[in-house]
């Protein structure tokens, strides 16, 4: 059952008012403007046992994503498509407010929203991830480990997952007498586009980007858009408050604009140049 009770950082009313007062002057506690992201650092290939991996630092938020390519059986309704499964776990080392145990609703939402961005953008051409149609396909597992929490997990996780997928290398496989045989040849995943998630946070009447944990404790709601090829491909609102229709469109315009810069960063790191084509 979903419960509004959260073990989370408590920000008292005085501090809350101070933060909102700063917002009204266009400032933030760490010196940023309302629309500024913290320093973003993306490293790929950080985990050598994975087929692909990425470590993303967004300010003090640190997220590691690892890709494992395995063999699976396709779903009966999509015999000609590989499988993609995104999982996320926020570790007890990452935050004082996390305890060990199965993923809670926040982790499940995190994984599902990031999954939606990757899936709906058709980032990986799943039709190419087939070993033998209807029998064996590749299943791509992307698992996310959140190492340190300081806000904006949705965006940081999305960048880590996308970078890990875009830099993954795996051994092709083939079926010989119903047995899966690994070939020597290494391949990259068939990447068609780079989806970018941009979250707008709302506190009081202010819209801002990339909130820290303290700012998230003050925020009323958040709105995430995944952008690919200059279009929206996924969205998710979260939090206890609402957005006015104008704020929704403003958040979308911001996402469309900001995503270009982050897409360029990811493309640079993974070494995939932008093509003129769309999926």
């Amino acid at each position: 059952m979903s419960t509004s009770y959260r073990k989370a950082l408590f920000v008292d009313n005085l501090r809350r008012e101070q933060i909102l007062e700063q917002y009204s002057q266009g400032r933030r506690a760490d010196g940023r403007g309302l629309g500024d992201y913290r320093e973003l650092r993306i490293q790929v290939g950080t985990m050598i046992k994975a087929n692909g991996s990425a470590t993303v630092d967004l300010g003090d938020t640190r997220v590691v994503a690892g890709v494992k390519v395995a063999v699976g059986t396709p779903f009966p309704d999509t015999p000609d498509e590989g499988l993609l499964i995104v999982g996320a776990e926020v570790l007890p080392i990452a935050s004082a407010y996390v305890e060990p145990g199965p993923p809670d609703e926040d982790s499940i939402e995190l994984a599902r929203v990031v999954d939606r961005g990757v899936r709906e953008s058709h980032m990986v051409d799943m039709h190419q991830m087939v070993i033998e149609e209807g029998k064996k396909v590749y299943s791509i597992f992307v698992d996310v480990t959140v190492v340190n929490v300081d806000g904006n997990l949705l965006d940081a996780t999305s960048y880590a997952v996308v970078s890990a997928l875009a830099s993954a290398k795996y051994k092709k496989m083939t079926l010989k007498e119903d047995k899966v045989v690994e070939l020597e040849e290494m391949s990259s995943l068939p990447i068609q586009t780079i989806p970018v998630s941009i979250t707008t946070s709302k506190a009081g009447d202010f819209l801002l980007m990339d909130p820290t944990t303290e700012e998230e404790a003050v925020q009323e709601a958040r709105l995430t858009f995944a952008i690919a090829n200059g279009q929206v491909c996924a969205a998710q609102k979260g939090g206890q408050g609402g957005f006015s229709p104008e704020q929704v469109l403003k958040a979308l315009d911001t996402a469309l604009l900001k995503s270009k810069e982050i897409e360029a960063r990811i493309r640079e790191v993974v070494g995939i140049a932008k093509e003129g084509s769309s999926p």
Binding site: S2, S4, S121, A235
Partner: protein, 242 residues
């Protein structure tokens, strides 16, 4: 599958911007403090509210407000393939987004140290079940007498065969290009749930979003009448609100 025919009619004969029939009844469950039953197209959904009541476990009680709990659950026979009765990841996420869609309407500070529980049981699912669930749950909350700022209504818009469409049915949800559920408080002009999957340009998004928002105002009238008619029957006051 052909979702839209040459006359611009959809698989169930509707026009592109036409809602399915919506029927809401309030106060249908004797053992709940508030309840509602909704039939929206082929969706059949019960929503029950229990509380404000003692909060369990006690340590999650909040000193300044009520804790809101929500469970969205689908019956094993609600979909073509039997759904395992234990909560799926989808149901866990939906429980959360439905709770967050309803929270902005509630004045939880009125009920410190208590819990308010919302149970949504989907008996038949037919596309747009989260929208129908939110609409029913808001009516059930009003029926329970919980202080509210506004009702919450939800409708999905989307895209199929490059046409923007309203209120997706099952086939359109599965075979179509985009699903965009929106929950909205009509009097406060606030969007409390927004999800989306599939590709749309910015202008398509704005159009579909506005389409869903305007449809929310239509469903709001049905929802409001359902709540009022439980108490006033046929002699209900007309023409208030949006």
């Amino acid at each position: 599958m052909n979702l839209i025919d040459e006359n611009g009619l959809r698989i169930d004969g509707r026009k592109l911007d036409e809602l399915r029939p919506v029927k809401i009844e309030v106060g249908v469950l004797k053992n709940a403090d508030g309840s509602a039953y909704i039939e929206w197209g082929k969706n059949k959904i019960f929503a029950a509210v229990r509380g404000p009541k003692e909060c369990h476990p006690k340590h999650i009680a909040m000193a300044d407000r009520a804790v809101l709990k929500c469970r969205y659950h689908m019956a094993p026979f609600s979909v073509p393939d039997r759904k395992a009765p234990q909560p799926s990841r989808r149901e866990i996420e939906l429980s959360k987004v439905i709770r967050e869609a309803l929270t902005p309407a509630l004045i939880l500070e009125e009920y410190p140290r208590t819990a308010i529980e919302i149970y949504v049981e989907v008996l038949t699912s037919d596309g747009g079940s989260r929208a129908a669930s939110i609409t029913a749950a808001a009516a059930a909350l009003a029926d329970a007498g919980i202080t509210m700022r506004d009702l919450v209504v939800a409708v999905a818009a989307g895209k199929a065969q490059d046409h923007l469409i309203l209120d997706l049915c099952d086939e359109e949800d599965k075979e179509g290009q985009v699903d965009l559920p929106v929950a909205y408080m009509p009097n406060l002009d606030q969007v409390t749930l927004l999800q989306m999957d599939g590709f749309m340009t910015r202008d398509e998004f704005e159009q579909a979003f506005n389409m869903a928002k305007e449809a929310c105002k239509t469903v709001y009238k049905i929802q409001r009448e359902a709540v009022i008619s439980k108490y006033f029957g046929d002699s209900m006051p007309k023409n208030k609100g949006a």
